[in-house]
């Protein structure tokens, strides 16, 4: 969940469908070896665009085929990295401000309440936007520099509305 919240690259220009690009470093062979021991019918495989082009017998997921026909996937990832290296004034900064004095202090984890960012980023965030999460209840506020370049603020739950 946290990796999706912090996802720095997505493609959202296709009608009705969003693609999240997540960096993942694990070795597929190690994963497959454990899966075989457990009797789980999943086999993971890393493939480059060149591998895919060379092997025409592979039947790839239709959404992947559709997206790779529209955009250059490697270039899209690189462009997102360039965007995130831009100075603050060149970025599209949005601030999600909550008031949660007891945030993360309780013994029980509530996947919805404790993932307010995931909920609102899912509703609003688009590619090449930087969304920042602050909990005013814990004394967290955007600094002056960030405030100066913020394009939009989403104040969520005043003290009187805290759940």
């Amino acid at each position: 969940m946290n990796r999706l919240v912090n996802c720095s690259c997505q493609y959202d220009e296709l009608e009705g469908e969003i693609f999240f690009f997540l960096e993942y470093q694990n070795d597929a062979e190690a994963l497959n070896a454990f899966l075989a021991d457990l009797g789980v019918e999943r086999c993971f495989k890393w493939l480059s665009i060149e591998d895919i082009k060379k092997n025409q017998t592979l039947k790839l997921h239709s959404s992947f085929v559709q997206l790779s026909a529209i955009i250059d996937l490697e270039k899209h990832i690189e462009e997102s990295k360039i965007y995130h290296s831009l100075p603050l004034d060149k970025k599209g900064i949005y601030v999600l401000l909550v008031f949660r004095p007891n945030f993360n202090k309780g013994p029980e984890f509530d996947p919805f309440k404790d993932h307010t960012a995931a909920l609102f980023y899912g509703i609003y965030r688009r590619n090449k936007e930087t969304w920042l999460f602050y909990n005013a209840g814990a004394g967290e506020f955007p600094d002056e520099e960030i405030s100066k370049h913020t394009k939009g603020k989403l104040p969520l739950s005043l003290p009187s509305m805290t759940v």
């Binding site: 999706l4 009705g16 469908e17 969003i18 999240f20 690009f21 997540l22 993942y24 470093q25 694990n26 070795d27 597929a28 190690a30 075989a36 457990l38 789980v40 019918e41 999943r42 086999c43 993971f44 890393w46 493939l47 480059s48 060149e50 591998d51 039947k59 790839l60 997921h61 992947f64 997206l67 996937l73 990832i77 360039i82 831009l86 060149k90 970025k91 599209g92 509530d110 996947p111 919805f112 309440k113 993932h115 995931a118 909920l119 609102f120 980023y121 899912g122 509703i123 609003y124 688009r126 090449k128 913020t150 394009k151 939009g152 603020k153 104040p155 969520l156 739950s157 509305m161 759940v163």
Partner: protein
Amino acid sequence: MEGLSKEYQQQSESKFSNNFCPRTEYNHFRKATVLLYRQTLGQTKFLFYSKGIDDSCLEVPQGEFRGVDSAITFTAVRAILEETYGLLSDSTFNKLAQNQKITKEDLFNPKVVQFLYAFCFLVYVHRVSHNLNFGKAHILQNG
């Protein structure tokens, strides 16, 4: 860099052109697809999985948006859990990195995930929905 910045500025100007974010500006995706990638030696590779050892049909985690998801981010999480039994989670990743063995207890049963999702959604409706409505109506433009 200049190009990226101008493109962004045009998008943001249309998105927050007044104090209230119009309904049409919300994301309304019906499907979420997760592409896992890694970059080594200047080459980008994508992670696929097949449902059998010799299967040439290669899949990526994908989920259809359902009401219980409430936002597309949760659809993506559900897709990863349901399609890969949670094998791509951080906990499994860390275990592999430390050469620890993965056991059946580390895996998620997709049916259990669906049940938990439905349960959590009911709790969520009661506890958070008023916050959502409040937030939607109060998008403020800086300056």
